[in-house]
Amino acid sequence: MNILYDPALDGPLTQHDKAKVLAHLTAMLPSLTLLHREEDLHPFECDGLAAYRVMPMLVALPECVEQVAALLRECHALGVPVVTRGAGTGLSGGALPLEQGVLLVMSRMARILEIDPDARIARLEPGVRNLAISEAAAPYGLYYAPDPSSQIACSIGGNVAENAGGVHCLKYGLTVHNLLKLEVLTIEGEPMTLGADSLDAAGLDMLALFTGSEGMLGVVTEVTVRLLPKPETARY
């Protein structure tokens, strides 16, 4: 079985001139790190499903949400597909690049923006590693419950996109049960807040819709999660 993109079955993809796209993006986004040389692109060929590899046309490594928004707007205008990648630990090829697409790597946006121990929330950039959240919350006696086995490496943005679980799901739920709010950008670069600092938000439950949507509906640029007090004891 070959699961690589097949235009006959998955829809046509427009061909792009890499040099032109690169020149355009560099001109429009001079501060954005863009990788284009083959040796620099190699590490991004695959995610955790390493049997399948595709060389991306370009890799973008934004450091702030403005860069992400601008990149999306430009790619949208050019008709260039965008594949978002967190830490690349996904096991289903969700972050597998496209030869004709830009790989948007969120790993440099990895700041913990806020831990509020009283509200028991953490506000995070999408590249923050799952385990780093619990580590940062530990001094307050708090932790972030969903703990995929890949938690040393995987990013919270990737966790949201996959609705990641872990060994404590039955009692503490999946990612979707531990989220309060997402900041996302649509492919057009438009910002939306999904969910809220309160326990529910007006309108449709877009937070639930985006969770587990595998980077198909938008790019997650900020995540607010709920933290729990550490249990007194744990025994086997």
């Binding site: 079985m1 079955l9 996904g90 096991l91 597998l96």
Partner: protein, 262 residues
Amino acid sequence: MASFDDIDKAGRAVGDIIACGIIPGGLEMMDNLAIRAAEDFIHAGYPIEATAILLCELDGAEGDVSDDCARVREVLELAGATEIRLARDEQERARFWAGRKNAFPAVGRMSPDYYCMDGTIPRRELPTVLTGIAELSRQSGLAVANVFHAGDGNMHPLILFDANRPGELELAEDVGGKILELCVAAGGSITGEHGVGREKINQMCAQFTSDEITVFHAVKAAFDPTGLLNPGKNIPTLARCAEFGAMHVHHNQLPHPELPRF
């Protein structure tokens, strides 16, 4: 940690614990191949002769956990566990857990390559599905180790293969695909937590009807009408489903003829 000489009994014990009104923080099951792999790698102190082990973690307030521990021990004894061990100290507890958390790399040491599946099933279907997996393993000649989030029905069968042998990757993928179809047939899902991505794009056609897939595409179009974000992932085109023939057939109507071909 409880050992069992029979997978069915281990599976039933999981239900018995939950039937007591106890929701463990973690409840994991490993079969013999996974136990041996983990033991070989981590020396967690697992019983290598056991057919299956259950790892049950209880967390919460001190007093409640003591009560629940006693209760769980009773349940496990009644369920026919051949051995029950309570971690003596934090170190042993960490070792028990390390064995499980490292089960994937441990299996990876036994075989040049492995392929990790992620189907979910209603827990009661565990014996049936495991029998099906064993049969697929026998037919294909590929060993399968089973690691299972037993509490929530999320299975991680690990298919062992050697990609350097011609055809084995394809064989492993074929076995994997069939395992997922077993999960769907048992009332479960092709993915509990790893996502569809590119990998399970064809199995989506087994889990959803063409009408449902059409609705997924409509949702996508509401946010990304030109389809520029992550094209080709998560939701198969109807053309792909027609090609792979796994699409549900409703009321004997084949949905294929009108489908667009690209």
